[in-house]
């Protein structure tokens, strides 16, 4: 049984259809990458898994259990945690308080505040600072740390590299093996293909609300990926 299964999901914003019959499976302990251009539907899919959006048709199964009508906060309880697009740290809360918010549901597991400071040492001296004053890279590290505090089985990461310096992106991707080792499964969405394909076990390319290519990254030539990405 896969950790996450999406079966023929169609998702709408009012009358606009953003996803058409999407199906995919994410296995426990892997890094699954969703790539695609802006507006291809990747973020919509993450929001649907997190419970921000509800599919009009199709099903979502987590650990074999249907979750598509479960409210967001209960999905966190099951172990689905998010690093939202644009980071969305709580600006008026301190770094430390942001991390504690991640642990709101008190799920047991390896991640504690100290473990996060060990994973991202840059956060430790900032612990009493308000998150509003942090740089983009610091906020991204905080957003990932906050999501880990939920001790998730599945962590959803939306555009974690967007707007960050290459050295910071590298540091964030270097943290992935530690996450996997601690029992996390990672579903990452990226526009920037380069980094993510070096770490991903499986990749799905989104194009205009449909999956245009899916499989192991090594099975495709760069030309095939480019074609699936741009639809040419």
């Amino acid at each position: 049984m896969s950790l996450l299964e999406i079966e023929n999901a169609s998702v709408f914003y009012e009358d606009f259809q953003a996803l058409y019959d999407i199906s995919l499976k994410v296995e426990e302990g892997e890094i699954f990458a969703c790539i695609g251009a802006n507006g291809a539907g990747k973020s919509t899919m993450l929001k649907t898994i997190a419970g921000v959006l509800v599919p009009r048709r199709g099903r979502i199964l987590f650990d074999g259990q249907p979750i598509d009508h479960m409210p967001t906060h209960q999905r966190v309880e099951l172990g689905i945690s998010s690093v939202p697009e644009g980071r969305r740290v709580f600006p008026s809360l301190t770094v430390h308080e942001n991390l504690l918010m991640g642990a709101y549901r008190n799920r047991k597991g390896p991640w504690t505040v100290d473990a996060i400071y060990e994973l991202f040492p840059l956060l430790k001296p900032l612990r009493r600072r308000q998150a509003a004053g942090l740089s983009g890279g610091e906020q991204q590290a905080l957003a990932i740390g906050r999501a880990l505090m939920a001790n998730p089985r599945l962590i959803l990461m939306d555009e974690v590299s967007l707007g960050l310096a290459p050295v910071v992106i590298k540091r964030i991707y270097e943290a992935f093996p530690t996450l996997i080792k601690n029992g996390c499964t990672i579903l990452v969405v990226e526009q920037d293909v380069q980094h993510v394909l070096t770490v991903a076990d499986h990749v799905a390319c989104f194009l205009e609300g449909r999956i245009s290519l899916m499989g192991k990254p090594g099975d495709f030539t760069p030309e095939q990926i480019t074609a699936a990405y741009f639809g040419v």
Partner: protein, 290 residues
Amino acid sequence: MDWINAAVQGILLGGLYALFAVGLSLVFGTMRLVNLAHGDLTVLPAYVALMLVNAMRFNPFYSIPITMVILFIVGYLLQRGLLNFVVGRGDIAGVIVTFGISIVLQNALLLGFTANSQGLDAGRVENLSIKINERLAVGWLPLIIFLMAIVVITALQLYMNWTKMGRAFRAVSDDQEAARLMGVNTKHVWAVALGVSLLIVTIGGVMMGIRTTFDPLLGSQRLIFAFEAVIIGGMGSAWGTLLGGVILGVAQTLGAQAFGSAWSILVGHVVFVIILAFRPQGFLAKTVTA
């Protein structure tokens, strides 16, 4: 000396306004809901206390903790059953629904208790005062109310800063959707926020009922005083709200001293408008943006 006396009375009155205002500010802060029924919800606890006192024949002070629990439950259920459906649907929906609640409450109280003024009799303490000299005396009751305001605001600050629920209030205030993604049930958090708001308002409402008389139509004036205290003090700061209440209270009592008691409320409003014109963000505003 009369002026000093008026100023002292004004400061003490400000504590009462702050007790009405912090709840309004808490609700606006956590869910961006302008609660137009807030004034009537400060009147309601006085009537709840009146019923308790009539039934149990005890001193109205004893009714305060019981009334606080009742009003917390009323607030929680009102939010879960009704107001949660308007939060996040634009300002107008909340304004219309809370205006409706205000009218329903006023008329329900008129129906149940008539328009006659009622009072809560706490016995001797109502008339005791500390005499500082021949012309300056501070009543025990206003002083107790002011001290209660300080205790309540301190407790609220500690609750907001150091408890898990207080942290959730602030997180939800910053970003509702992100809070849900962290596992916060925002519907529950909002309901607790309205419950806490009414719990605080109960203290002011019952104490005011002991200090003076009350009738079902007092709510709208109290709502305006509460708004003014919040705005003068600055959004998001409980101590600012106390300061705002004190400025408003002092403006009213000094206005009464200068022009006669009929002018007191008008002078308070004029001072408010002047402050709004020159310092619209209030004196101690705390706002953080990403």
